[in-house]
């Protein structure tokens, strides 16, 4: 395939979390429409290395849209101009010859930049540590078919469980709120019978950790849902609100 697109990239470069960053302009020439966005950056990086310049650092791993490692705020939108896709699955045919592309890292106090376009998303892990699990040990569990779960419930729990933890919801939200992420996990367990025993303590603990991490508050703009690469729905946030308020206002069980 011939590469015939020439692009101007304005890329955020920042050595580490202690230094200040700035935009640097690069030319990406001979880009093929069939390249993924990250492969386009690979080409730019190979050129930089040949010139002895530090390549642009960005997070990525599986490159098939499921690991959630890739990020990038591209021309004002997380994961670029197409909806329902991660940056690694975004292809250069979504851009045109001569276009200028501005590439920035996720911006949020809870996601500090560690280098160039890579941010530290361990805040998400810590929220999961607070309660994103069912308290069962390995072994000694009932037969898998012991508790029937209606298909509609299982499917809805699955929809919530497909979150890839990329952080696009935080990046898209004008308040840098993480509620879509947190609510997806709370929803999954609130729906399934296996999650019932700690349903309310979980909601309280996870919300408390979310607040402690310094994410913003939800103002229901719906940007997170629109930009989520896997289509996590806003109804999850409604469910989280209900779980939390129910827990705080009407349940006596305390978060542990």
């Amino acid at each position: 395939m011939s590469g015939n697109m020439n692009l101007t990239l304005k890329v955020w470069r920042q050595k580490n979390d202690k230094t200040r960053g700035k935009f640097i302009t690069y030319q990406a020439n001979g880009i093929s429409q069939d390249m993924s966005f990250l492969e386009m950056l690979d080409v730019v990086n190979e050129d930089l290395v040949r010139k002895g310049e530090d390549p642009i650092y960005f997070d990525h791993d599986c490159r098939e849209g499921i690991c959630g490692m890739c990020s990038l705020h591209i021309n004002g939108r997380p994961h670029g101009p197409k909806q329902g896709t991660t940056t690694c699955q975004l292809h250069m045919r979504s851009f045109h010859d001569g276009q200028t592309i501005v590439i920035e890292p996720w911006r949020a106090a809870a996601f500090p930049v560690i280098k160039d376009l890579a941010v530290d998303r361990t805040a998400f892990d810590r929220i999961q540590h607070a309660g994103g699990y069912v308290n069962v040990n390995t072994g000694g569990v009932p037969d898998a078919n012991g508790i029937p779960i209606p298909k509609t419930v299982a499917d809805e729990a699955f929809e919530s469980a497909t979150c890839i933890g990329c952080g696009a919801c935080v990046a898209a939200c004008k308040n840098a709120s993480a509620m879509l992420f947190v609510s997806a996990k709370i929803s999954q367990y609130a729906l399934l019978p296996q999650g019932q025993t700690e349903r309310y303590s979980r909601a309280q603990a996870m919300v408390a950790q979310m607040d402690a991490e310094g994410f913003g508050n939800c103002t229901n703009t719906g940007a997170c849902e629109a930009e989520c690469p896997v289509g996590i729905k806003l109804t999850n946030i409604a469910r989280m609100n209900r779980e939390y308020l129910n827990a705080k206002l009407f349940k006596e069980e305390e978060a542990h």
Binding site: S36, V141, A157, A161
Partner: protein
């Protein structure tokens, strides 16, 4: 001769008896032991969580920014388990039998039987964790069938089974992290193994953000670091998947078994150009309804490639549905290795399609005519969308282009029945070890093995080793730690001193080409010998002419890649050696010299019914072959045929 330590006695009683004979560690004493788990995929996360639940102190490492990103997450199809929920004649023995046969009789019977046995517990465990498997309207679990089996035993969560299982294991891991029983080290890469008196006692890691080279001590080390498919540069593996941890362990004494057994998956999206960084798998299930074909003649194929003809211009009689022609009874549903090899054959003849000519068609026209577009969409919609997204070609309107790609490595670190390597205290779990899939892995069995090892095998077997150790903490002052750390540091600085003209990717791509060409879907004595020389040349070129930028004390992708490729260059040569020595065809290893009259893989059970485990004896020394004879007491060895 290697001793697998598989217990004697009837197959079905081996594991129960063995569990009883394993030594136990008193609950109060478990907290006196620290276990290092490298990797957080299905095997690593499940092992770390289960061991911490038992009371051991666990240190868990991954190179990604979060344990949840390990590449197990990308598995699509499902996980096998001998639940027999469908009442269709499945049993532990049948799953065992299918797996041994699918592996072309190159796996260890006792391990495979244990795998089949604990498969049922895995599903229970995952459901209890809140993994949302697909269900039927009655609320019970749904199953589907998968390649190489005549029963429906595959549990799944739409096309994201790996993701859901991994998030389940990750949640169990998180629970232990919150309890303080697991210490998690993200963005840490294991760069060496520390041994004291021949026992594994710790690892050396590099903090990928700060560059700090650190040592970590433990009473046992578990490698759960996945496969080495990225030695081919292009594969369905994640970009970061690498062999470094396993390879470093190999150089410290762990034998490497059957490195030449690689699985090439037939239905992947073809390469579009040199810029390609990875390959994307399309689920095998597509072959249930898609028909594979190429033009009958080279001339037609050429015209098609140049755009002088459109696909619709090729008349039905000019299309060669070669799988249906050659294998009338299995047709498009032949096993992975057969389908892959035949695609290579027609492409090599010059009949490939697409601009590059390195692809074959997978055509759904007949299926759409038969069932209607809506039914096809309901069955394969998400896969069609993914294909459309990547290629910008609408598979409802024109055939998909597919080509095989490296997907899984059956070979790996040699382990005994306890999953212990030849280094006492060092274990290997999941794809990282070699044990359960023989020369070919069946679909939906990788997830099963990873979780079986982590949840249900290692918690028993590691105790047997620890119980013999005494309660002293590992002596972190021991000179081995500082010595190994220094060696790692020297290596890092040596890499950073390379200031040549090639990039690391240049070398990696070349290595990939060599491996794919000579150690890929079909191998010959001559080609392999040539490849060996080429890899040695390439290794020289790497150390003389590659450039590695930046410094150690930062996130440095040049450095990370360089270290990994340096190890791939060594592994590649061992793979070639292994493929050279195995003068038979079996499973994913096809030697042109060893085929049946119909051109199918021909095993040589007389001479090669063994595991080839290679021992490292020092730089530039030939590796020494050790054999583990494979005994088959419960299945009869037959030649596979899919005619």
């Amino acid at each position: 001769m290697l001793n697998s330590k598989a217990p004697a006695g009837p197959l079905a009683e081996k594991w129960s008896k063995h569990k009883f004979n394993l030594k136990l560690v008193n609950p109060a004493n478990k907290r006196k032991y620290t276990i290092i788990v490298v990797g957080t995929g299905l095997a690593g996360a499940s092992a770390a969580a289960s061991l911490a639940e038992l009371g051991y102190n666990v240190k868990s490492f991954c190179y990604q920014d979060s344990p949840r990103r390990a590449h197990s997450i990308a598995a699509q199809g499902g996980i096998n388990a001998a639940k027999n929920y469908q009442n269709d004649g499945d049993s532990v023995f049948r799953l065992f039998y299918d797996t041994v046969k699918g592996g072309d009789y190159r796996s260890r019977e006792a391990n495979v039987y244990r795998l089949a046995e604990v498969s049922v517990n895995i599903i229970d465990q995952c459901v209890a964790q809140g993994v949302p498997f697909a269900r039927e309207y009655g609320g019970l679990l749904d199953n589907r069938s998968f390649g190489g089996a005549q029963v429906s035993r595959t549990f799944y969560a739409r096309g994201q089974t790996g993701q859901q299982l991994l998030l389940g294991a990750y949640s169990a891991l998180n629970r232990q992290i919150s309890k303080g029983k697991v210490e998690a080290y993200n963005r840490h890469e294991m760069l060496d193994l520390v041994t004291i008196d021949g026992h594994a006692r710790g690892i050396v890691t590099r903090n990928m953000v700060t560059g700090a080279i650190e040592t970590h001590a433990g009473h046992a080390v578990l490698l759960c670091t996945g496969g080495y498919g990225n030695v081919f540069y292009l594969s369905t593996n994640a970009m970061g998947c690498n062999v470094t941890a396993a390879w470093r362990a190999h150089k410290r004494g762990a034998f490497f078994a059957n490195p030449c057994y690689t699985q090439i998956h037939p239905t992947c999206i073809p390469v579009t150009g040199d810029h390609q960084s990875k390959l994307t798998l399309m689920s095998e299930s597509l072959r249930n309804d898609g028909r594979v074909w190429v033009p009958k003649t080279v001339e037609l194929a050429q015209k098609l490639r140049k755009g002088e003809l459109k696909i619709s211009d090729i008349k039905e009689e000019d299309r060669d549905y070669y799988l249906e022609r050659k294998y009338p009874s299995f047709g498009n549903l032949v096993p992975r290795d057969v389908a892959s090899r035949n695609a290579k054959e027609v492409v090599d003849e010059g009949r490939g399609v697409g601009a590059s000519g390195i692809a074959v068609f997978l055509d759904f026209k007949d299926a759409i005519n038969r069932m209607g577009e809506d039914t096809v969409r309901a069955k394969y919609g998400n896969l069609f969308d993914m294909y459309y997204q990547i290629t910008d070609e609408n598979p409802y309107k024109q055939p998909m282009r597919i080509y095989p790609a490296v997907h899984y490595t059956m070979g790996g670190v040699w382990v005994d029945y306890n999953l212990m390597t030849t280094v006492p205290g060092l274990y290997a779990l999941g794809e990282c070890n070699f044990s359960d899939h023989g020369a070919n892995r069946l679909g939906a069995s990788a997830l099963m093995q990873g979780l079986a090892d982590g949840y249900f095998v290692i918690p028993y077997t590691v105790g047997d080793y620890l119980a013999g150790l005494g309660f002293d903490p590992v002596d972190e002052k021991h000179p081995s730690f500082e010595k190994t750390r220094k060696e790692v540091e020297d290596r890092v600085h040596r890499l950073l001193s390379l200031k040549g003209s090639k990039t690391v990717d240049d070398i990696h791509k070349k290595l990939g080409h060599i491996m794919w060409e000579y150690c890929g879907m079909a191998r010959t004595e001559e080609g392999l010998a040539k490849a060996k020389g080429m890899i040695q040349e390439l290794r020289k070129e790497f150390w003389e002419d590659v450039t590695v930028l930046g410094e150690n004390e930062e996130l440095n992708q040049s450095l990370e890649k360089a270290g990994r490729v340096a190890d791939f260059l060594e592994l590649g040569e061992l793979m070639v050696d292994d493929a050279l020595h195995r003068r038979e065809s079996c499973g994913g290893h096809f030697r042109i010299e060893s085929q049946t009259e119909e051109g199918e893989a021909k095993r040589d059970d007389e001479n090669f019914r063994y595991v080839a485990a290679w021992e490292y004896r020092g730089d530039n020394q030939p590796e020494v072959l050790h054999k583990e004879e494979l005994e088959f007491e419960n299945v009869k060895l037959t030649q596979r045929s899919y005619k």
